[in-house]
């Protein structure tokens, strides 16, 4: 456990040193621009745009960090040959992987929390006081964070057995495919035999369904999200992450690092 904590803390420090949190400046400028501009070029959607733009930015920036940094977590250590020095110490490979995972999730949590605070600040400038229903935004932010954690796990898994470029492509591809996972179950109007339909159905359950973490439509309009949904999405993410990280640990421990 101590080993995982140490690797995680170092990963977080490294991300901060790499100026990953500089994206917050871009986010702040985006929110300020939206708060000023939208009211002047549209009708009646100032608040909606602040919330949807804020959540979209949190999600997109988070995905970029999760994919690019997630893939680099292992490959960079191998390229710089720092991994060998680390593994020579009493650190197991799976501990290294888990530490890297938690370190990046920590970075994303700090980043997401800062952006959420910025979103509330922008919202406060267009309408104050804030309403009770505005608290639902936090639920959306929490679910985005869960989604990012799943993506980090995916990026880690792919970076364990392929090149960084392919790992980025696979992670991004699985993310986009995961958004359409439910559609694979309800596909209609295509001339498919029952075997293919069953296969597609099976794939739809294998893919991480990223729509499980998407409540933007409700939150933007001040509608709440049922607690059961949040619990189920949390459990879904935890189980999924556990499966992926187990797979990653197995692949990584068998990998020939010579």
């Amino acid at each position: 456990m101590r080993n995982i904590r140490t690797v995680a803390a170092n990963t977080f420090r490294e991300a901060v040193r790499d100026r990953v949190l500089y994206n917050l400046v871009f986010f702040a400028l985006l929110m300020m621009g939206a708060a000023i501009l939208v009211g002047q070029i549209s009708i009646g959607i100032e608040q909606d745009v602040i919330v949807s733009l804020g959540l979209t930015a949190i999600s997109v920036i988070g995905i970029l960090i999760a994919v690019f940094l997630g893939v680099a977590l292992v490959s960079k250590e191998m390229d710089k040959r720092t991994l060998y020095a680390l593994l020579a110490k009493p650190v197991k490979r799976w501990e290294f992987l888990l530490g890297k995972f938690f370190g990046l999730v920590m970075t994303l949590t700090v980043n997401t929390a800062a952006m959420a605070a910025g979103l509330y600040l922008a919202l406060w400038t267009v309408k104050h006081p804030l309403l009770k229903s505005d608290a639902y935004i936090l639920v959306a932010v929490y679910l985005i964070l869960l989604k990012l954690a799943v993506i980090v796990a995916l990026a880690l898994l792919f970076s364990c057995f392929t090149t960084p470029f392919l790992a980025i492509l696979f992670s991004a591809g699985i993310y986009v495919a995961g958004l359409f996972a439910a559609d694979l179950r309800t596909v209609k109007g295509v001339d498919l035999d029952s075997g293919s339909l069953r296969l597609m159905r099976g794939i739809s359950y294998l893919l991480p369904n990223f729509q499980n973490f998407n409540v933007m439509g409700a939150v933007v309009h001040g509608r709440g999200v049922p607690g059961v949904f949040v619990w189920q999405a949390t459990l879904y993410a935890l189980v999924y992450i556990a499966i992926i990280l187990t797979g990653a640990a197995v692949v990584f421990s068998r990998r020939n690092l010579k």
């Binding site: 939208v38 070029i41 549209s42 009708i43 009646g44 959607i45 909606d48 745009v49 949807s52 733009l53 959540l55 979209t56 999600s59 997109v60 986009v176 958004l179 359409f180 990223f210 729509q211 998407n214 933007m216 439509g217 409700a218 933007v220 309009h221 509608r223």
Partner: protein, 296 residues
């Protein structure tokens, strides 16, 4: 050192000249662009379902962007005096599909669609379709029934359906009590100036948008003028019955005790009688042009 300074100056001049050149070229290209582009307005992606898929999990934001496009499109056409609003419906269709809870797109969109040209697209049937879609997606929002009633009442002149829309909306516990009154009033009277005034007054008092408020204000002034003109015409008819000739000036009606005094329109200009002895806004009144357009 001197050479470097000269080179720097030369570079600054060259860059400035380059940008001036780019600016001039762009102006030329902008002038020529109209010859290259098709004359019809165009929207690259018209399928709302496809747009929803393409927007991944960010449909609410893309919906808001499309709504802004609709507002900008309507505003620009209005500004240019161009009555061709063929893209308004596709833009609203996409916005409301991407975000079915975007209330504002249904409400104002229906207004843009239903209003007769030059103010709107003159497509009340599309406005009805949009509002019905809004009701389906947001069944608890009673204001859609009011908007639907307004479209049926003002644009379709279908008073039975207008009354039914107000009646249906009044069943929502959150609806204003006057919805029921309006349903009964329209069912009993059909179109009346008092009802029109009440409907526009609500739009004026409840909207937060300055353009919609201005539009409602214009309608309120016109309806008020119409109510005044109706009173004056009634007095003029009575005068003709009594004296066997029509009055040529309103002062004659006042002198005969048929009007309490010289009436002024909402802009403060006194009404006049036409050659046929019918009341109308003063030629100096800014309201007259709008009134004549409505009469057409």
């Amino acid at each position: 050192m001197k050479t470097r300074a000269i080179a720097g100056m030369f570079l600054a001049v060259a860059v400035t000249a380059g940008f001036l050149c780019v600016w001039r070229l762009q102006e030329g290209l902008d002038k020529e662009r109209s010859k290259v582009e098709s004359e019809r307005d165009d929207l690259a992606l018209r399928s709302p379902a496809l747009m929803k898929k393409l927007s991944l999990e960010y449909a609410p934001l893309v919906g808001a962007i499309y709504w802004t496009r609709a507002v900008q499109y309507y505003g620009l056409k209005h500004y240019l005096g161009d009555q061709n609003l063929e893209l308004l419906w596709p833009l609203l269709d996409i916005s409301s599909t991407l975000d079915p809870n975007l209330i504002v797109a249904y409400r104002f969109g229906a207004m843009f669609l239903s209003d007769a040209p030059p103010r709107g697209a003159g497509e009340p049937e599309k406005a009805v379709e949009l509002l019905e879609r809004g009701i389906k997606a947001n069944p608890d929002y009673w204001r859609f029934y009011q908007d639907l009633g307004n479209v049926y009442y003002f644009d379709e002149k279908n008073y039975l359906k207008a009354s039914q829309a107000f009646e249906e909306g009044s069943r929502n516990p959150a609806a204003m009590p006057w919805m029921k009154i309006m349903a009964a009033k329209i069912a009993a009277e059909g179109e009346s100036l008092e009802t029109s005034y009440a409907l526009w007054l609500d739009v004026y008092q409840t909207t937060t948008n300055k353009d919609i408020r201005k539009n409602a204000e214009v309608h309120l002034r016109l309806v008020k003028a119409e109510m005044d003109i109706r009173e004056i015409d009634k007095a003029a008819d009575l005068y003709a019955q009594k004296t066997k000739h029509r009055a040529t000036r309103i002062s004659e009606l006042v002198q005969a005790g048929l009007l309490p005094g010289q009436l002024g329109d909402p802009d403060g200009f006194a009404y006049v009688l036409s050659e046929q002895g019918k009341a109308e806004p003063n030629a100096k009144s800014p309201l007259r042009e709008e009134w004549l357009r409505e009469k057409k």
